[in-house]
């Protein structure tokens, strides 16, 4: 047994999984509240990366140090994308709220195509270099070949934001209202919860996390393109389903589970089958445990 190789694959999978988890939370929160799979979520992630790139380029010209640029670019991306998420909900989903489940789904796919093409027109269809904003930490230097600064920052940021989100949902009044809306929107409204506001906040939060993910990953891999949201979105969606869609701890677990599985499959079998492995897992889960790791089996009312 080659323990070092195992550790390398584990830490690589952890990074990948944290990325998936960060995006998966957006899917799962929206699904939890309005039972919509927001296919445009991957595009919010892509928009986050682009916003980060634009802000980072401007700040870079102004001569800011990388760490400050990273924080400011991430903040700008979060605010901008939260705005996108909010607007998207108002334009594409709110008018269809009473219209069955298929219409908002199609609207979401339309939104995703619209945002991709908007970036092609407004920016470019080319690949753009993304500056490496995550500073090299001296204390990670001895292990940089296994777990570098960008891995560390990604895992740390994901863990912190997920912990913060959990605290927010568990212990604040707003979080309580969110949980109530997720359980039964009509009942929550009768008890005085402003469901429209809760849905807006859900989109704001989910989009913020996706934007944060976009900036971190673009900095990690060093490039952005209008299509980066697609595969990341699909994988995060898979992670959300694995974990049990609608459950926030489930999305985190699902993301990590998927990231680690992919990493080990690549390491011990072959990266030719990386996607095959991810989607086979999805199929197996859908057959044997459709509610996912953390999801509760839903009892259909007769």
């Amino acid at each position: 047994m080659d323990w070092q190789y195992l550790a390398e694959l584990f830490l690589g999978g952890l990074t990948r999984g944290s990325i998936y988890a960060l995006i998966a939370i957006g899917y799962t929160m929206v699904y939890g509240i309005i039972e919509l799979i927001n296919f445009a979520h991957g595009e919010i992630y892509m928009l986050g990366a682009f916003t980060g790139l634009i802000v980072a380029s401007v700040l870079g010209i102004l001569g800011f140090p990388p760490a400050q640029i990273l924080i400011l670019a991430a903040l700008a991306a979060i605010i901008y994308c939260a705005g996108y998420g909010y607007t998207m909900e108002k334009i594409a989903y709110k008018p269809l709220r009473g219209a069955g489940r298929l219409s908002p789904l199609i609207s979401a796919i339309g939104m995703s195509l619209f945002l991709q093409n908007y970036i092609i027109l407004a920016q470019t269809s080319d690949f753009l270099p993304f500056p490496s904003l995550i500073p090299e930490f001296a204390f990670l230097d001895p292990v940089a070949h296994i777990f570098g600064s960008s891995n560390f920052v990604i895992v740390l940021t994901s863990s912190v934001s997920m912990a913060a989100l959990t605290v927010f949902i568990k212990y604040t009044k707003m979080g309580k209202a969110m949980r109530a809306t997720a359980q039964n929107r009509k009942m929550a409204m009768l008890l005085g919860v402003n469901a429209d506001k809760i849905i807006s906040i859900t989109f704001l939060l989910g989009s913020s996390l996706a934007a944060l993910g976009g900036v971190l990953i673009a900095s990690h891999v060093g490039m952005v393109n209008f299509a980066v949201g697609f595969l990341a979105g699909i994988k995060a969606f898979t992670a959300a389903v694995l974990g049990g869609i609608g459950s926030i701890p489930g999305a985190m677990l699902g993301g990590l589970f998927l990231g680690l599985s992919e990493s080990f499959a690549t390491g011990y079998i072959s990266s030719d089958y990386e996607d095959v492995f991810a989607f086979t897992l999805l199929v197996v889960f859908l057959i044997f445990r459709p509610s996912g790791i953390m999801g509760k089996a839903k009892v259909e009312k007769v």
Partner: protein, 370 residues
Amino acid sequence: MKGRISGLVIAASLVLLAGTAMADTIKIGVAGAHSGDLASYGLPTVNAAKLVVDEVNAKGGIDGKQIELLIQDEECKPEKATNAATKLISDGAVVVLGHICSGATKAALPIYTEAKLVCMSPSATNPELTQSGQYPTFFRTIASDDAQATLGAEFAINTLGAKKIAVLHDKGDYGKGYAEYAQQFITDGGAAEVVLFEGVTPGAVDYSAVVQKIRKSEADVVMFGGYHPEASKIVAQLKKKRVEVKFISDDGVKDDTFIKVAGADAEGVYASGPQDVSSLEMNKAARAAHVAKFNAEPGAFFDNAYAAIQALVNAIDKADSTDSAKIMEALRTENVDTSVGTIKFDARGDAEGVGFSMYQVQGGKYVVVQ
């Protein structure tokens, strides 16, 4: 209708009669797609042939004989290519310039082989056409599809002294083809071994698992078949994970976008790309002649076609004969200056001196290293 057909037959016979009347011309067949979807691949070859032949004829032809072109359209369709080949042989062509597409060329070649007629393609890149050894009269002035992989592997082994090579690809036709040819070349050569052969998923969020695998394989060179977006992610992650390997890739990476996106990580990366022939005097002259005569910039494979017809005319001239065996002998032994540089042909029919060069990123630019 009937009247028109017999009219055509009469016209055709007249042409044939005229042909026999001028028996002392040297006939060169030109076959390829001159109409249909792929006409843009075939027509530049016809133009190249006309330019060279007009020039030679104006200077008195080959040993006093004028050259006549027999042009046959086969639309890059294999079934039409066999008809075109038969027609050219019965019309008395001594050599054929063509065909254009690999599929059509492959269909026509058994006929030329049977008739022992020299056939030279400016554009058919399928490796088997020359490597199978089935078509001894076939030549080409374009590098075959596996040339880049062969160049890359040779460069890795001979120039960089690689003993262990990791071969990666992006699972696409182009990248996987490159990787498979490279693997085959390395395995057959025996001087180095392939320690890793893997496809990576284009667009994945990171490649750290593959990078760790490369480290574990202890490869000294990574060969990658694919395009620049994946290549730049992989080189960036190799640098981040401090894996010290040399990186060799293909024409899909020999693109300035790669340098722009990968930035400092691109430094030292090797990539093969077509030889730059645009600075050769003969190439400039050929292109200028095309613009003067046809009032347009030359199209696809023009350079290769121009070189092919130059090589054929030279071989007939040097052989002092229209006998195929003597023409082939001249093609294989005589160096000829063409629009793609000085070339001659190897035993299999591939042009030596045509093909790809190895480039390396140095100071933010691709520089020729071999």
